[in-house]
């Protein structure tokens, strides 16, 4: 049974209060973020249907939004999602090398997850950190000025947190 915790449900009603009456659909993006955080980092169909029921909208209204925005994962991802920027300014500063290094180190391709389910590698387009390139997003944080050594440290940090 898919259900938010009481605390999350309270948060959902708080979010709905931000909009005029009858405009609860506006809460869709924030509630999908909550859902993704709560249910293993991705949006399975039953999760999206649950969100639709919470906001009193049709499931299709959720699917079309979830499939539009790049931050919503429609397939399972590893516990740690490495989202490495590859657009112009990051490319100039060596993002290709960083992506290549992560591939070799974790032995996965872009869009793949390690066998232990810990890491997924994704390439993304400009995240607004061009002056601190190359960079990646990891959860709620940005990891900037990446080097091979920094990638090693981040991987070690994630592994130790997972244990």
């Amino acid at each position: 049974m898919i259900k938010f915790s009481e605390e999350k449900l309270k948060k959902v009603s708080e979010i709905i209060q931000r909009y005029p009456e009858g405009r609860q659909k506006s809460a869709l993006l924030p509630v999908l973020h909550l859902a993704q955080d709560e249910f293993d980092g991705w949006l399975d169909t039953p999760v999206m249907d649950y969100v639709a029921s919470l906001l009193n909208i049709e499931p299709i209204e959720v699917y079309e939004v979830a499939s539009f925005y790049s931050m919503y994962n429609l397939k399972p991802v590893g516990k740690y999602l490495f989202e490495v920027c590859q657009t112009g300014p990051c490319m100039i500063n060596g993002s290709d090398d960083i992506i290549g290094y992560i591939k070799t180190k974790l032995n996965i391709g872009v869009g793949e997850t390690t066998a232990d389910g810990l890491f997924t590698l994704k390439t993304v387009e400009c995240l607004g950190a061009c002056g601190y390139a190359p960079m990646m997003q990891l959860g709620k944080t940005y990891r900037e000025h990446l080097t091979k050594e920094k990638v090693d440290a981040i991987v070690a940090e994630c592994r130790s947190k997972a244990n």
Partner: protein, 451 residues
């Protein structure tokens, strides 16, 4: 040292907190604004000459005066914090380090526009900054700047942060409104403009973060004083986010009277190019604006020093000029490959096209594929003409400006660097291991002397 209006307190320890911000003179503009009528505030902003800092450069006061005010219909102010234009990371800095400046500007602007509920729509990836803003809003609320009957004026005001979820297109104001309504970020057909029919079909103003922050010094110092900073129609100060091959990437507040050359090479700003490399090219206003070779970047086609302001950066039109855009300043040194750089930008726009209009949906992917082909040494000469043809057919043929934004970088790259594209075609193996280099791109420009 240029006058700083937005970042002058950015380095005060603890400025992120309400207490320090207030002690440093924060929220004075709200007190002052409440002594004025909403119409007088709009007048001050008009007088200031402030132009939208998101990229389009439209006069803010004029945008505000277009807002429809039908009886009994709510009006909304929405802050566009969906900063996503490659090369641009200035709004992030403002929100992360001086969140109260944006909040203060939004209270004043909301009072001027008659918005009792306003929203900050922030790109979803800036998740930790959304938290910073929410904390700052709570502080402002606790101190009586947000809520019911603020300072006894009878003005009720609430402010909320809404996170996007990864879509460049939501920086376009009607796509942003759609997204805030819980839909896909598909831009709307205009008219009607948001000023008449925006959020939930109500009159709405959408302003960039830096624009709203600039309202604070405008109200504090007066529109006229603000208009005297800068030059011509480039009034006030502008935040530039500088990146690429420079010694000191970061955020700089400039007063638009300095030259591009000084901006790149002086120690006060970018500090020159690392490792003794030479300047090859620059995209001065975010990835959408035309890339310029070093010579045209530093000197206009008329032979004048190019300056860091709206007029000078666009001097010569697209033939020999560029644009101020969002202030995302990307510097490329002699080792950079223009074909590869253009390919990454084409890939970006392909990824970000919402898919509504076929010229953009199909054209962006087509351009990406051709650029990949040329970049990997498999291009033919006719591909270069094909690219030119595709970009021309996208420009102006789409609902929103993303089509233009995708077309311009490709057009400018071919316009100014055609021989580098041809070299890739002619040297299919060499181009995989070597770069075309600087060549003639920094050579002095021949200026025709009229008799």
């Amino acid at each position: 040292m240029a006058k700083k209006l937005l970042l002058d307190k950015a380095h005060v320890p603890g400025i992120r907190s309400y207490e320090v911000y207030r002690k440093e003179g924060g929220y004075r503009s709200v007190e002052k604004a409440f002594r004025l009528t909403p119409a007088e505030i709009v007048e001050e902003v008009k007088l200031s000459g402030l132009r939208g800092r998101g990229g389009a450069g439209f006069p803010t006061g004029m945008k505000w005066s277009f807002l429809a005010k039908p009886e009994g219909v709510p009006r909304y102010l929405v802050c566009n914090a969906d900063e996503s234009e490659p090369g641009t990371f200035k709004d992030r800095y403002l929100m992360e380090f001086i969140p109260h400046l944006l909040i203060e500007g939004m209270i004043v602007a909301s009072f001027a526009l008659g918005s009792n509920v306003s929203y900050i729509y922030i790109r979803g990836e800036y998740a930790w900054i959304a938290d910073i803003l929410e904390n700052a809003i709570d502080e402002a609320k606790q101190n009586g700047w947000i809520g019911k009957n603020i300072l006894g004026t009878g003005f009720n005001f609430e402010l909320y942060v809404q996170r996007g979820a990864g879509a460049y297109i939501c920086g376009e104001e009607t796509a942003l409104i759609e997204s805030l309504e819980g839909k896909r970020g598909n831009p709307r057909i205009k008219p009607p403009f948001p000023a008449v029919k925006g959020l939930w079909d109500c009159p709405t103003v959408v302003n960039n973060v830096e624009t709203l922050a600039a309202v604070v010094p405008i109200i504090n110092e007066g529109g006229e004083a603000y208009s005297k900073i800068g030059v011509g129609k480039s009034t006030g100060t502008k935040l530039i986010s500088a990146c690429g091959n420079i010694n000191k990437p970061g955020i700089y507040e400039i007063d638009m009277t300095i030259s591009v050359e000084d901006f790149i090479f002086s120690d006060e700003y970018c500090g020159g190019i690392p490792n003794g490399k030479r300047l090859k090219a620059c995209i001065p206003g975010g990835s959408s604006v035309p890339i310029l070779p070093a010579n045209l970047l530093l000197t206009t086609a008329k032979g004048e020093k190019r300056m860091m302001n709206y007029e000078s950066l666009s001097d010569g039109g697209f033939a020999t000029g560029s644009m101020m855009g969002s202030g995302g300043f990307i510097v490329l040194d002699e080792d950079q490959c223009i074909v590869r750089n253009t390919m990454t930008l084409a890939r970006f726009y392909h990824h970000e096209s919402c898919g509504q209009c076929s010229p953009c949906r199909e054209g962006t992917g087509w351009m990406e594929r051709i650029l990949k082909k040329i970049e990997s040494g498999k291009g033919e000469m006719k591909d270069i003409d094909l690219l030119w043809d595709i970009q021309r057919k996208i420009e102006g043929n789409t609902i929103c400006p993303l089509g233009d934004a995708a077309a311009w970088p490709v057009a400018a790259a071919i316009r100014h660097f055609r021989d580098e594209f041809e070299w890739h075609v002619q040297n299919p193996e060499k181009c995989l291991t070597e770069n075309f280099g600087l060549r003639h791109y920094a050579d002095p420009i021949h200026v025709a002397v009229t008799a």
